[in-house]
């Protein structure tokens, strides 16, 4: 079909089909080789319960010919990748994958892959997006995607349990998942005493090393009963379900640790609400948005607020609220503004950079509250560069500037010790001058009871 020209770079691995971009719309094309499975899935009414449970991205069949079937899936606003999820998000994505495999087995199908990239977050929940991952179940056969589940989900989660959530960022350098031998080498020795960790990680690493040059078993064929496979899945599910980070949460309530007076806090919330609602922005990107407190304060109609933060705990707290309140328009994102996730994989196009994905999504307003002093004084990013960065992201910017007298700014400056004079440029005047190169300052207000100023700016681009 003609849309083959716009085939997405992330979907070359699976011969069953591929993704195409038709303008801004993403579609899935099924190759004839997968028709028998797809038709059997439809006949078994496999998809509709999963759509209803919001476990699989819903689709409608749009075209059918001898060469291709075209599916039109619900569109994902912003794709997030495993290394941008908090531990709990990652865990829920893993549990979803196991549930789907269990569901598939009940109906004599099986997941043929278990990549973490098959899951993303949509309307507050993890959702499986690779509709073509289901295959026929072959009687008494082991799970082909088992190793992939371990390298993409189980291994990273177990590492994060012992070493902290930062371990999940290793997925950024291992697009095929973290090798089992590497996971095994990083786990404490005592994990060999755990039947689940010993068998799924240590023994698997040994077996992989032993058989690394063989492709077919020497003696008998490999058999595993369906019940045994179910036990394997159930035991992984139970283990992951109870898994938590060993590191202690630094704070339960982030805003108790800030230097805000209650009246400043309320003023800031109301001012943001007024500006966002007044400009009719419905797609909000909150950079350094902590646990989403300010994004939640906007009570106008928001399609989606992407709340990004460098602090894992803040992202985790945000996701806990999304889950507890069943919020559908909040997407917590683990994101470092000074080193945004790069493009990775084949020709650097397989997994797009977060900045490209954000720009394709097109936020209508960016909130940058209590962020600029960290960018300027902790990361040494000049105002001219941060202004350009924000101007490329969105037409509308709400930015908070803490003055030199602010206690946080003072503490950041004190840490510069003998180099403190190198940061004399950190002034309101320089800030405004640099930002006016890229923005028109529409409004600015002092936040009462604080040494901070709130700006509403419009990009000149």
């Amino acid at each position: 079909m003609k849309s083959k020209a716009h085939r997405h770079q992330a979907s070359f691995r699976d011969p069953s089909g591929y993704i195409v971009r038709d303008g801004s719309v993403v579609k899935r094309v099924i190759n004839p080789i997968y028709f028998p499975v797809y038709d059997a899935l439809c006949k078994a009414d496999f998809f509709s319960p999963l759509f209803k449970a919001k476990m699989l991205i819903p689709h409608v069949e749009q075209e059918r010919s001898a060469e291709a079937i075209v599916l039109m899936p619900d569109q994902i606003d912003l794709m997030t990748y495993p290394y941008e999820w908090s531990f709990e998000q990652y865990k829920q994505a893993a549990l979803l994958t196991l549930k789907l495999q269990n569901f598939a087995l009940d109906r004599d199908f099986s997941l043929k892959d278990a990549s973490a990239y098959n899951v993303t977050f949509h309307r507050g929940k993890p959702v499986f997006i690779d509709t073509l991952s289901f295959d026929f179940y072959q009687k008494d056969s082991p799970w082909r995607a088992y190793k992939q589940f371990i390298t993409h989900f189980f291994g990273p989660l177990v590492l994060a349990h012992f070493h902290g959530a930062e371990a999940l960022k290793m997925m950024q350098t291992h697009i095929d998942g973290i090798p089992v031998a590497l996971v095994a080498s990083m786990l404490p020795k005592r994990t060999k005493l755990s039947p689940t960790l010993y068998t799924n990680i240590h023994l698997m690493a040994k077996m992989e090393a032993k058989h690394k040059d063989e492709y077919t078993p020497k003696s008998r064929s490999i058999k595993l009963s369906k019940q045994s496979l179910r036990n394997l899945l159930r035991s992984l599910y139970n283990y992951i379900d109870q898994l938590e980070l060993m590191q202690q949460t630094e704070w339960g309530d982030y805003y108790n640790k800030t230097n805000y007076q209650p009246e400043s806090f309320i003023f800031k919330k109301e001012q943001i609400q007024k500006w966002i609602a007044g400009n009719g922005a419905r797609k909000i990107l909150d950079l350094g948005g902590n646990d989403g407190t300010f994004a939640r304060a906007i009570d106008s109609d928001i399609d989606l607020a992407v709340v990004a933060d460098v602090d894992h705990n803040a992202v985790a707290l945000n996701y806990a609220q999304v889950k507890a309140n069943k919020e559908v328009n909040m997407l917590p994102l683990w994101f470092d503004v000074t080193q945004p996730s790069p493009a990775i994989g084949w020709v650097n196009l397989e997994r797009e950079s977060i900045l490209n994905r954000l720009s394709a999504w097109g936020p209508e307003a960016v909130l940058a509250l209590a962020v600029i002093h960290h960018m300027t004084l902790s990361a040494n990013i000049p105002f001219a560069d941060s202004a350009q960065f924000f101007a490329r992201l969105s037409p509308l910017l709400v930015i908070e500037f803490p003055k030199r007298d602010d206690s946080w700014v003072d503490s950041l400056l004190q840490r510069k010790r003998e180099f403190i004079n190198h940061f004399d440029h950190y002034h309101q005047e320089n800030f405004e001058k640099a930002f006016e190169e890229h923005f028109k300052i529409l409004e600015k207000v002092n936040i009462p009871g604080s040494d901070r100023i709130l700006y509403l700016m419009h990009s000149r681009q």
Partner: protein
């Protein structure tokens, strides 16, 4: 149909070690599940059990909603 499956085998390497190890993993999983279930029954006999969380079979389930206090991953 044969053509279909042979192509699937080219799709990615499932790893022979990983395929072979599954029988042992599943056997260990069976023992763990059996003993957990046994302990659960013993505890429930003495009235010591809490209500069980949603498991792998809980589907449609209005997407398993848990209590907020169980959700803080960190």
């Amino acid at each position: 149909m044969m053509g279909y499956f042979s192509m699937m085998f080219l799709y990615f390497d499932a790893g022979l070690g990983a395929m072979l190890v599954q029988a042992i993993v599943a056997a260990a999983a069976g023992i763990v599940l059996f003993s957990k279930n046994f302990m659960y029954k013993v505890k429930s006999f003495f009235g010591l059990t809490k209500s069980q969380k949603d498991g792998i079979d809980t589907i449609d389930f209005e997407q398993d909603e848990k209590q907020p206090n169980e959700e803080q991953g960190s």
